[in-house]
Amino acid sequence: MLEIWGSQIYQFLQGSFSGAYAICDQEKNTSHLDFRLNGCEKIADLDRRGVLNLNTGELLMREIRMQGDRVIQNEGRYQCRKSGLTFNFADFNHE
């Protein structure tokens, strides 16, 4: 679940990729929502970002980080729908 509060996006129902994300380039892009963990500046060891297609609801989450001399990359694709101002935990199969 993505909750948009002003210039921030919160995610916590999916155990991975939880956190507070900053929305980047909001004015330039009307078809996509681009958001990043720890602000819009790329951080050296950990870069986690999401791109939500506002027309189709497709969400791409991507995380790239360094662990020693290795690069670890995680990627997840999700299909979203807009639920408005309310939600039900049943929709997320969350118990």
Partner: protein
């Protein structure tokens, strides 16, 4: 049905309500099943450690890691959970036995209450959370309090010393286990100590002890607040776990920080957004239902204990129970797992009701009685009807820990037949 048959029936009901959840919990926690034995979120919370430096909630995870190391922590955690359930059940029953209340109906509804011993074992909820450690410690404090009251005068100082030592040593440790201890359980511990100080005016140091304990707890809490963690620390903690543990918790993304470990990197605003979720998900109506139901059970216990009237005035008993309730309510503004808070408050209030049965305040008149007098309630509803209402409430429903929706409010008896 004669009274002997009723007693036998009550004994069988009590034995079943204690034994079935214990047996179920034993087989579930020690058996060989492919699925996680309880929610992966609390599992990950138990595994928070100090591998990224000092951080809130890390004490028990660090101890587990030091003992079991790379061989995986989740299986030993399951066994520890089962033993914590057994210990809580044992201490709860001991407090009841030592309180001098001899009323099987009271014990039965106290066990069947939502979030209580019966539902803990039947659903693997509540006792698998860190607040079960807090409940065990409060039950031990109640036992020590009762021991101080019943010991010969020459031994009272000895038990008082043990009680104070345990408070001053264990309380800061519990804040290191989970900083919410300061809201979730510390207030009622301090209240019990304050009541003891009122009962023993000759021991003036007990009042000082309340102040010192508060300062000690607050300092540790502030330290934990400063070292609340960030996303980089949560990733390091996650990486310190064995791959087998990470795969069990998060098979789709075992290299990304997960669950409660990931939540260490959350900010204050995000925690507040989960509180908003209590309202926006409609869960608040479910919590109001269970809060009312548990209040009904607590009312029955109060009516059955039946505090005396002293020179026409009500006993101070209800006064102190209500203070116990009030000091625990701020937790509802701190976290969104309202089912956990309702369960924790209910269990602690039941222990307080048991233990204050032996308090001097039970036999002292209340000069400023509370406007809520449950004796008025008794006029409209019979005690027998209320008892059966509490039993039905305990058996039909199942309060979720958090994230309430209407699918999850009934006891899942059919699930047991699918094993």
């Amino acid at each position: 049905m004669n009274s002997r048959s009723l007693s036998i029936l009550r004994f069988i009901a009590l034995a079943l309500c204690i034994e079935i959840p214990l047996i179920l919990s034993y087989f579930w926690m020690t058996g060989d099943f492919s699925v996680p034995r309880f929610n992966v979120w609390p599992i990950s919370e138990w595994l928070i450690n100090y591998q990224a430096g000092f951080i809130r909630r890390g004490l028990l995870g660090e101890i587990l890691l030091r003992i079991y190391g790379p061989s995986g922590l989740i299986r030993p955690l399951y066994i520890a959970m089962f033993f914590s359930y057994v210990i809580y059940t044992a201490t709860f029953i001991l407090v009841y036995l030592k309180s001098g209340i001899r009323n099987g109906n009271v014990l039965l509804v106290a066990i069947l209450i939502q979030g209580g011993i019966f539902h803990m074992g039947m659903t693997s909820d509540f006792y698998t959370r860190k607040e079960n450690i807090f409940l065990i410690f409060f039950a031990i404090q109640c036992l020590l309090y009762l021991q101080i009251k019943s010991a010969p005068i020459s031994f009272q100082k000895y038990w008082l010393g043990i009680y104070l030592a345990s408070l001053f040593i264990v309380t800061p440790s519990l804040v290191l286990v989970h900083e919410a201890y300061i809201f979730l359980s510390f207030p009622i511990s301090a209240l019990l100590l304050w009541i003891l100080a009122l009962e023993r005016p000759q021991d003036r140091y007990l009042r000082l002890a309340v102040g010192l304990l508060f300062c000690e707890t607050l300092i540790i809490f502030l330290i934990c607040s400063v070292f609340h963690g960030d996303i980089a620390m949560s990733q390091l903690i996650w990486d310190s776990l064995s791959l087998t543990d990470r795969l069990q918790l998060s098979p789709a993304a075992p290299y990304s920080t997960f669950g409660a470990i990931g939540s260490l990197g959350w900010g204050f605003n995000q925690h507040l957004s989960t509180l908003y979720g209590v309202v926006s998900s409609g869960g608040i109506f479910i919590w109001i239902f269970f809060a009312f139901g548990n209040a009904l059970v607590l009312s029955y216990i109060y009516i059955a204990i039946d505090p005396p009237k002293i020179n026409g005035s009500p006993s101070q008993y209800l006064h102190w129970i209500c203070i116990g309730f009030l000091v625990l309510t701020p937790m509802f503004l701190v976290g969104s797992d309202w089912g956990r808070w309702i369960a924790s408050i209910s269990n602690q209030l039941i222990l307080l009701m048991f233990v204050l049965r032996q308090s001097d305040l039970f036999f002292k008149p209340d000069m400023n009685p509370l406007p809520i007098q449950l004796s008025l309630f008794k006029r409209f509803i019979s005690r027998t009807f209320l008892f059966w209402l509490c039993v039905a409430y305990g058996l039909i429903f199942k309060m979720p820990e958090c994230c309430a929706d209407l699918r999850t409010v009934f006891a899942p008896y059919m699930t047991y037949f699918s094993f």
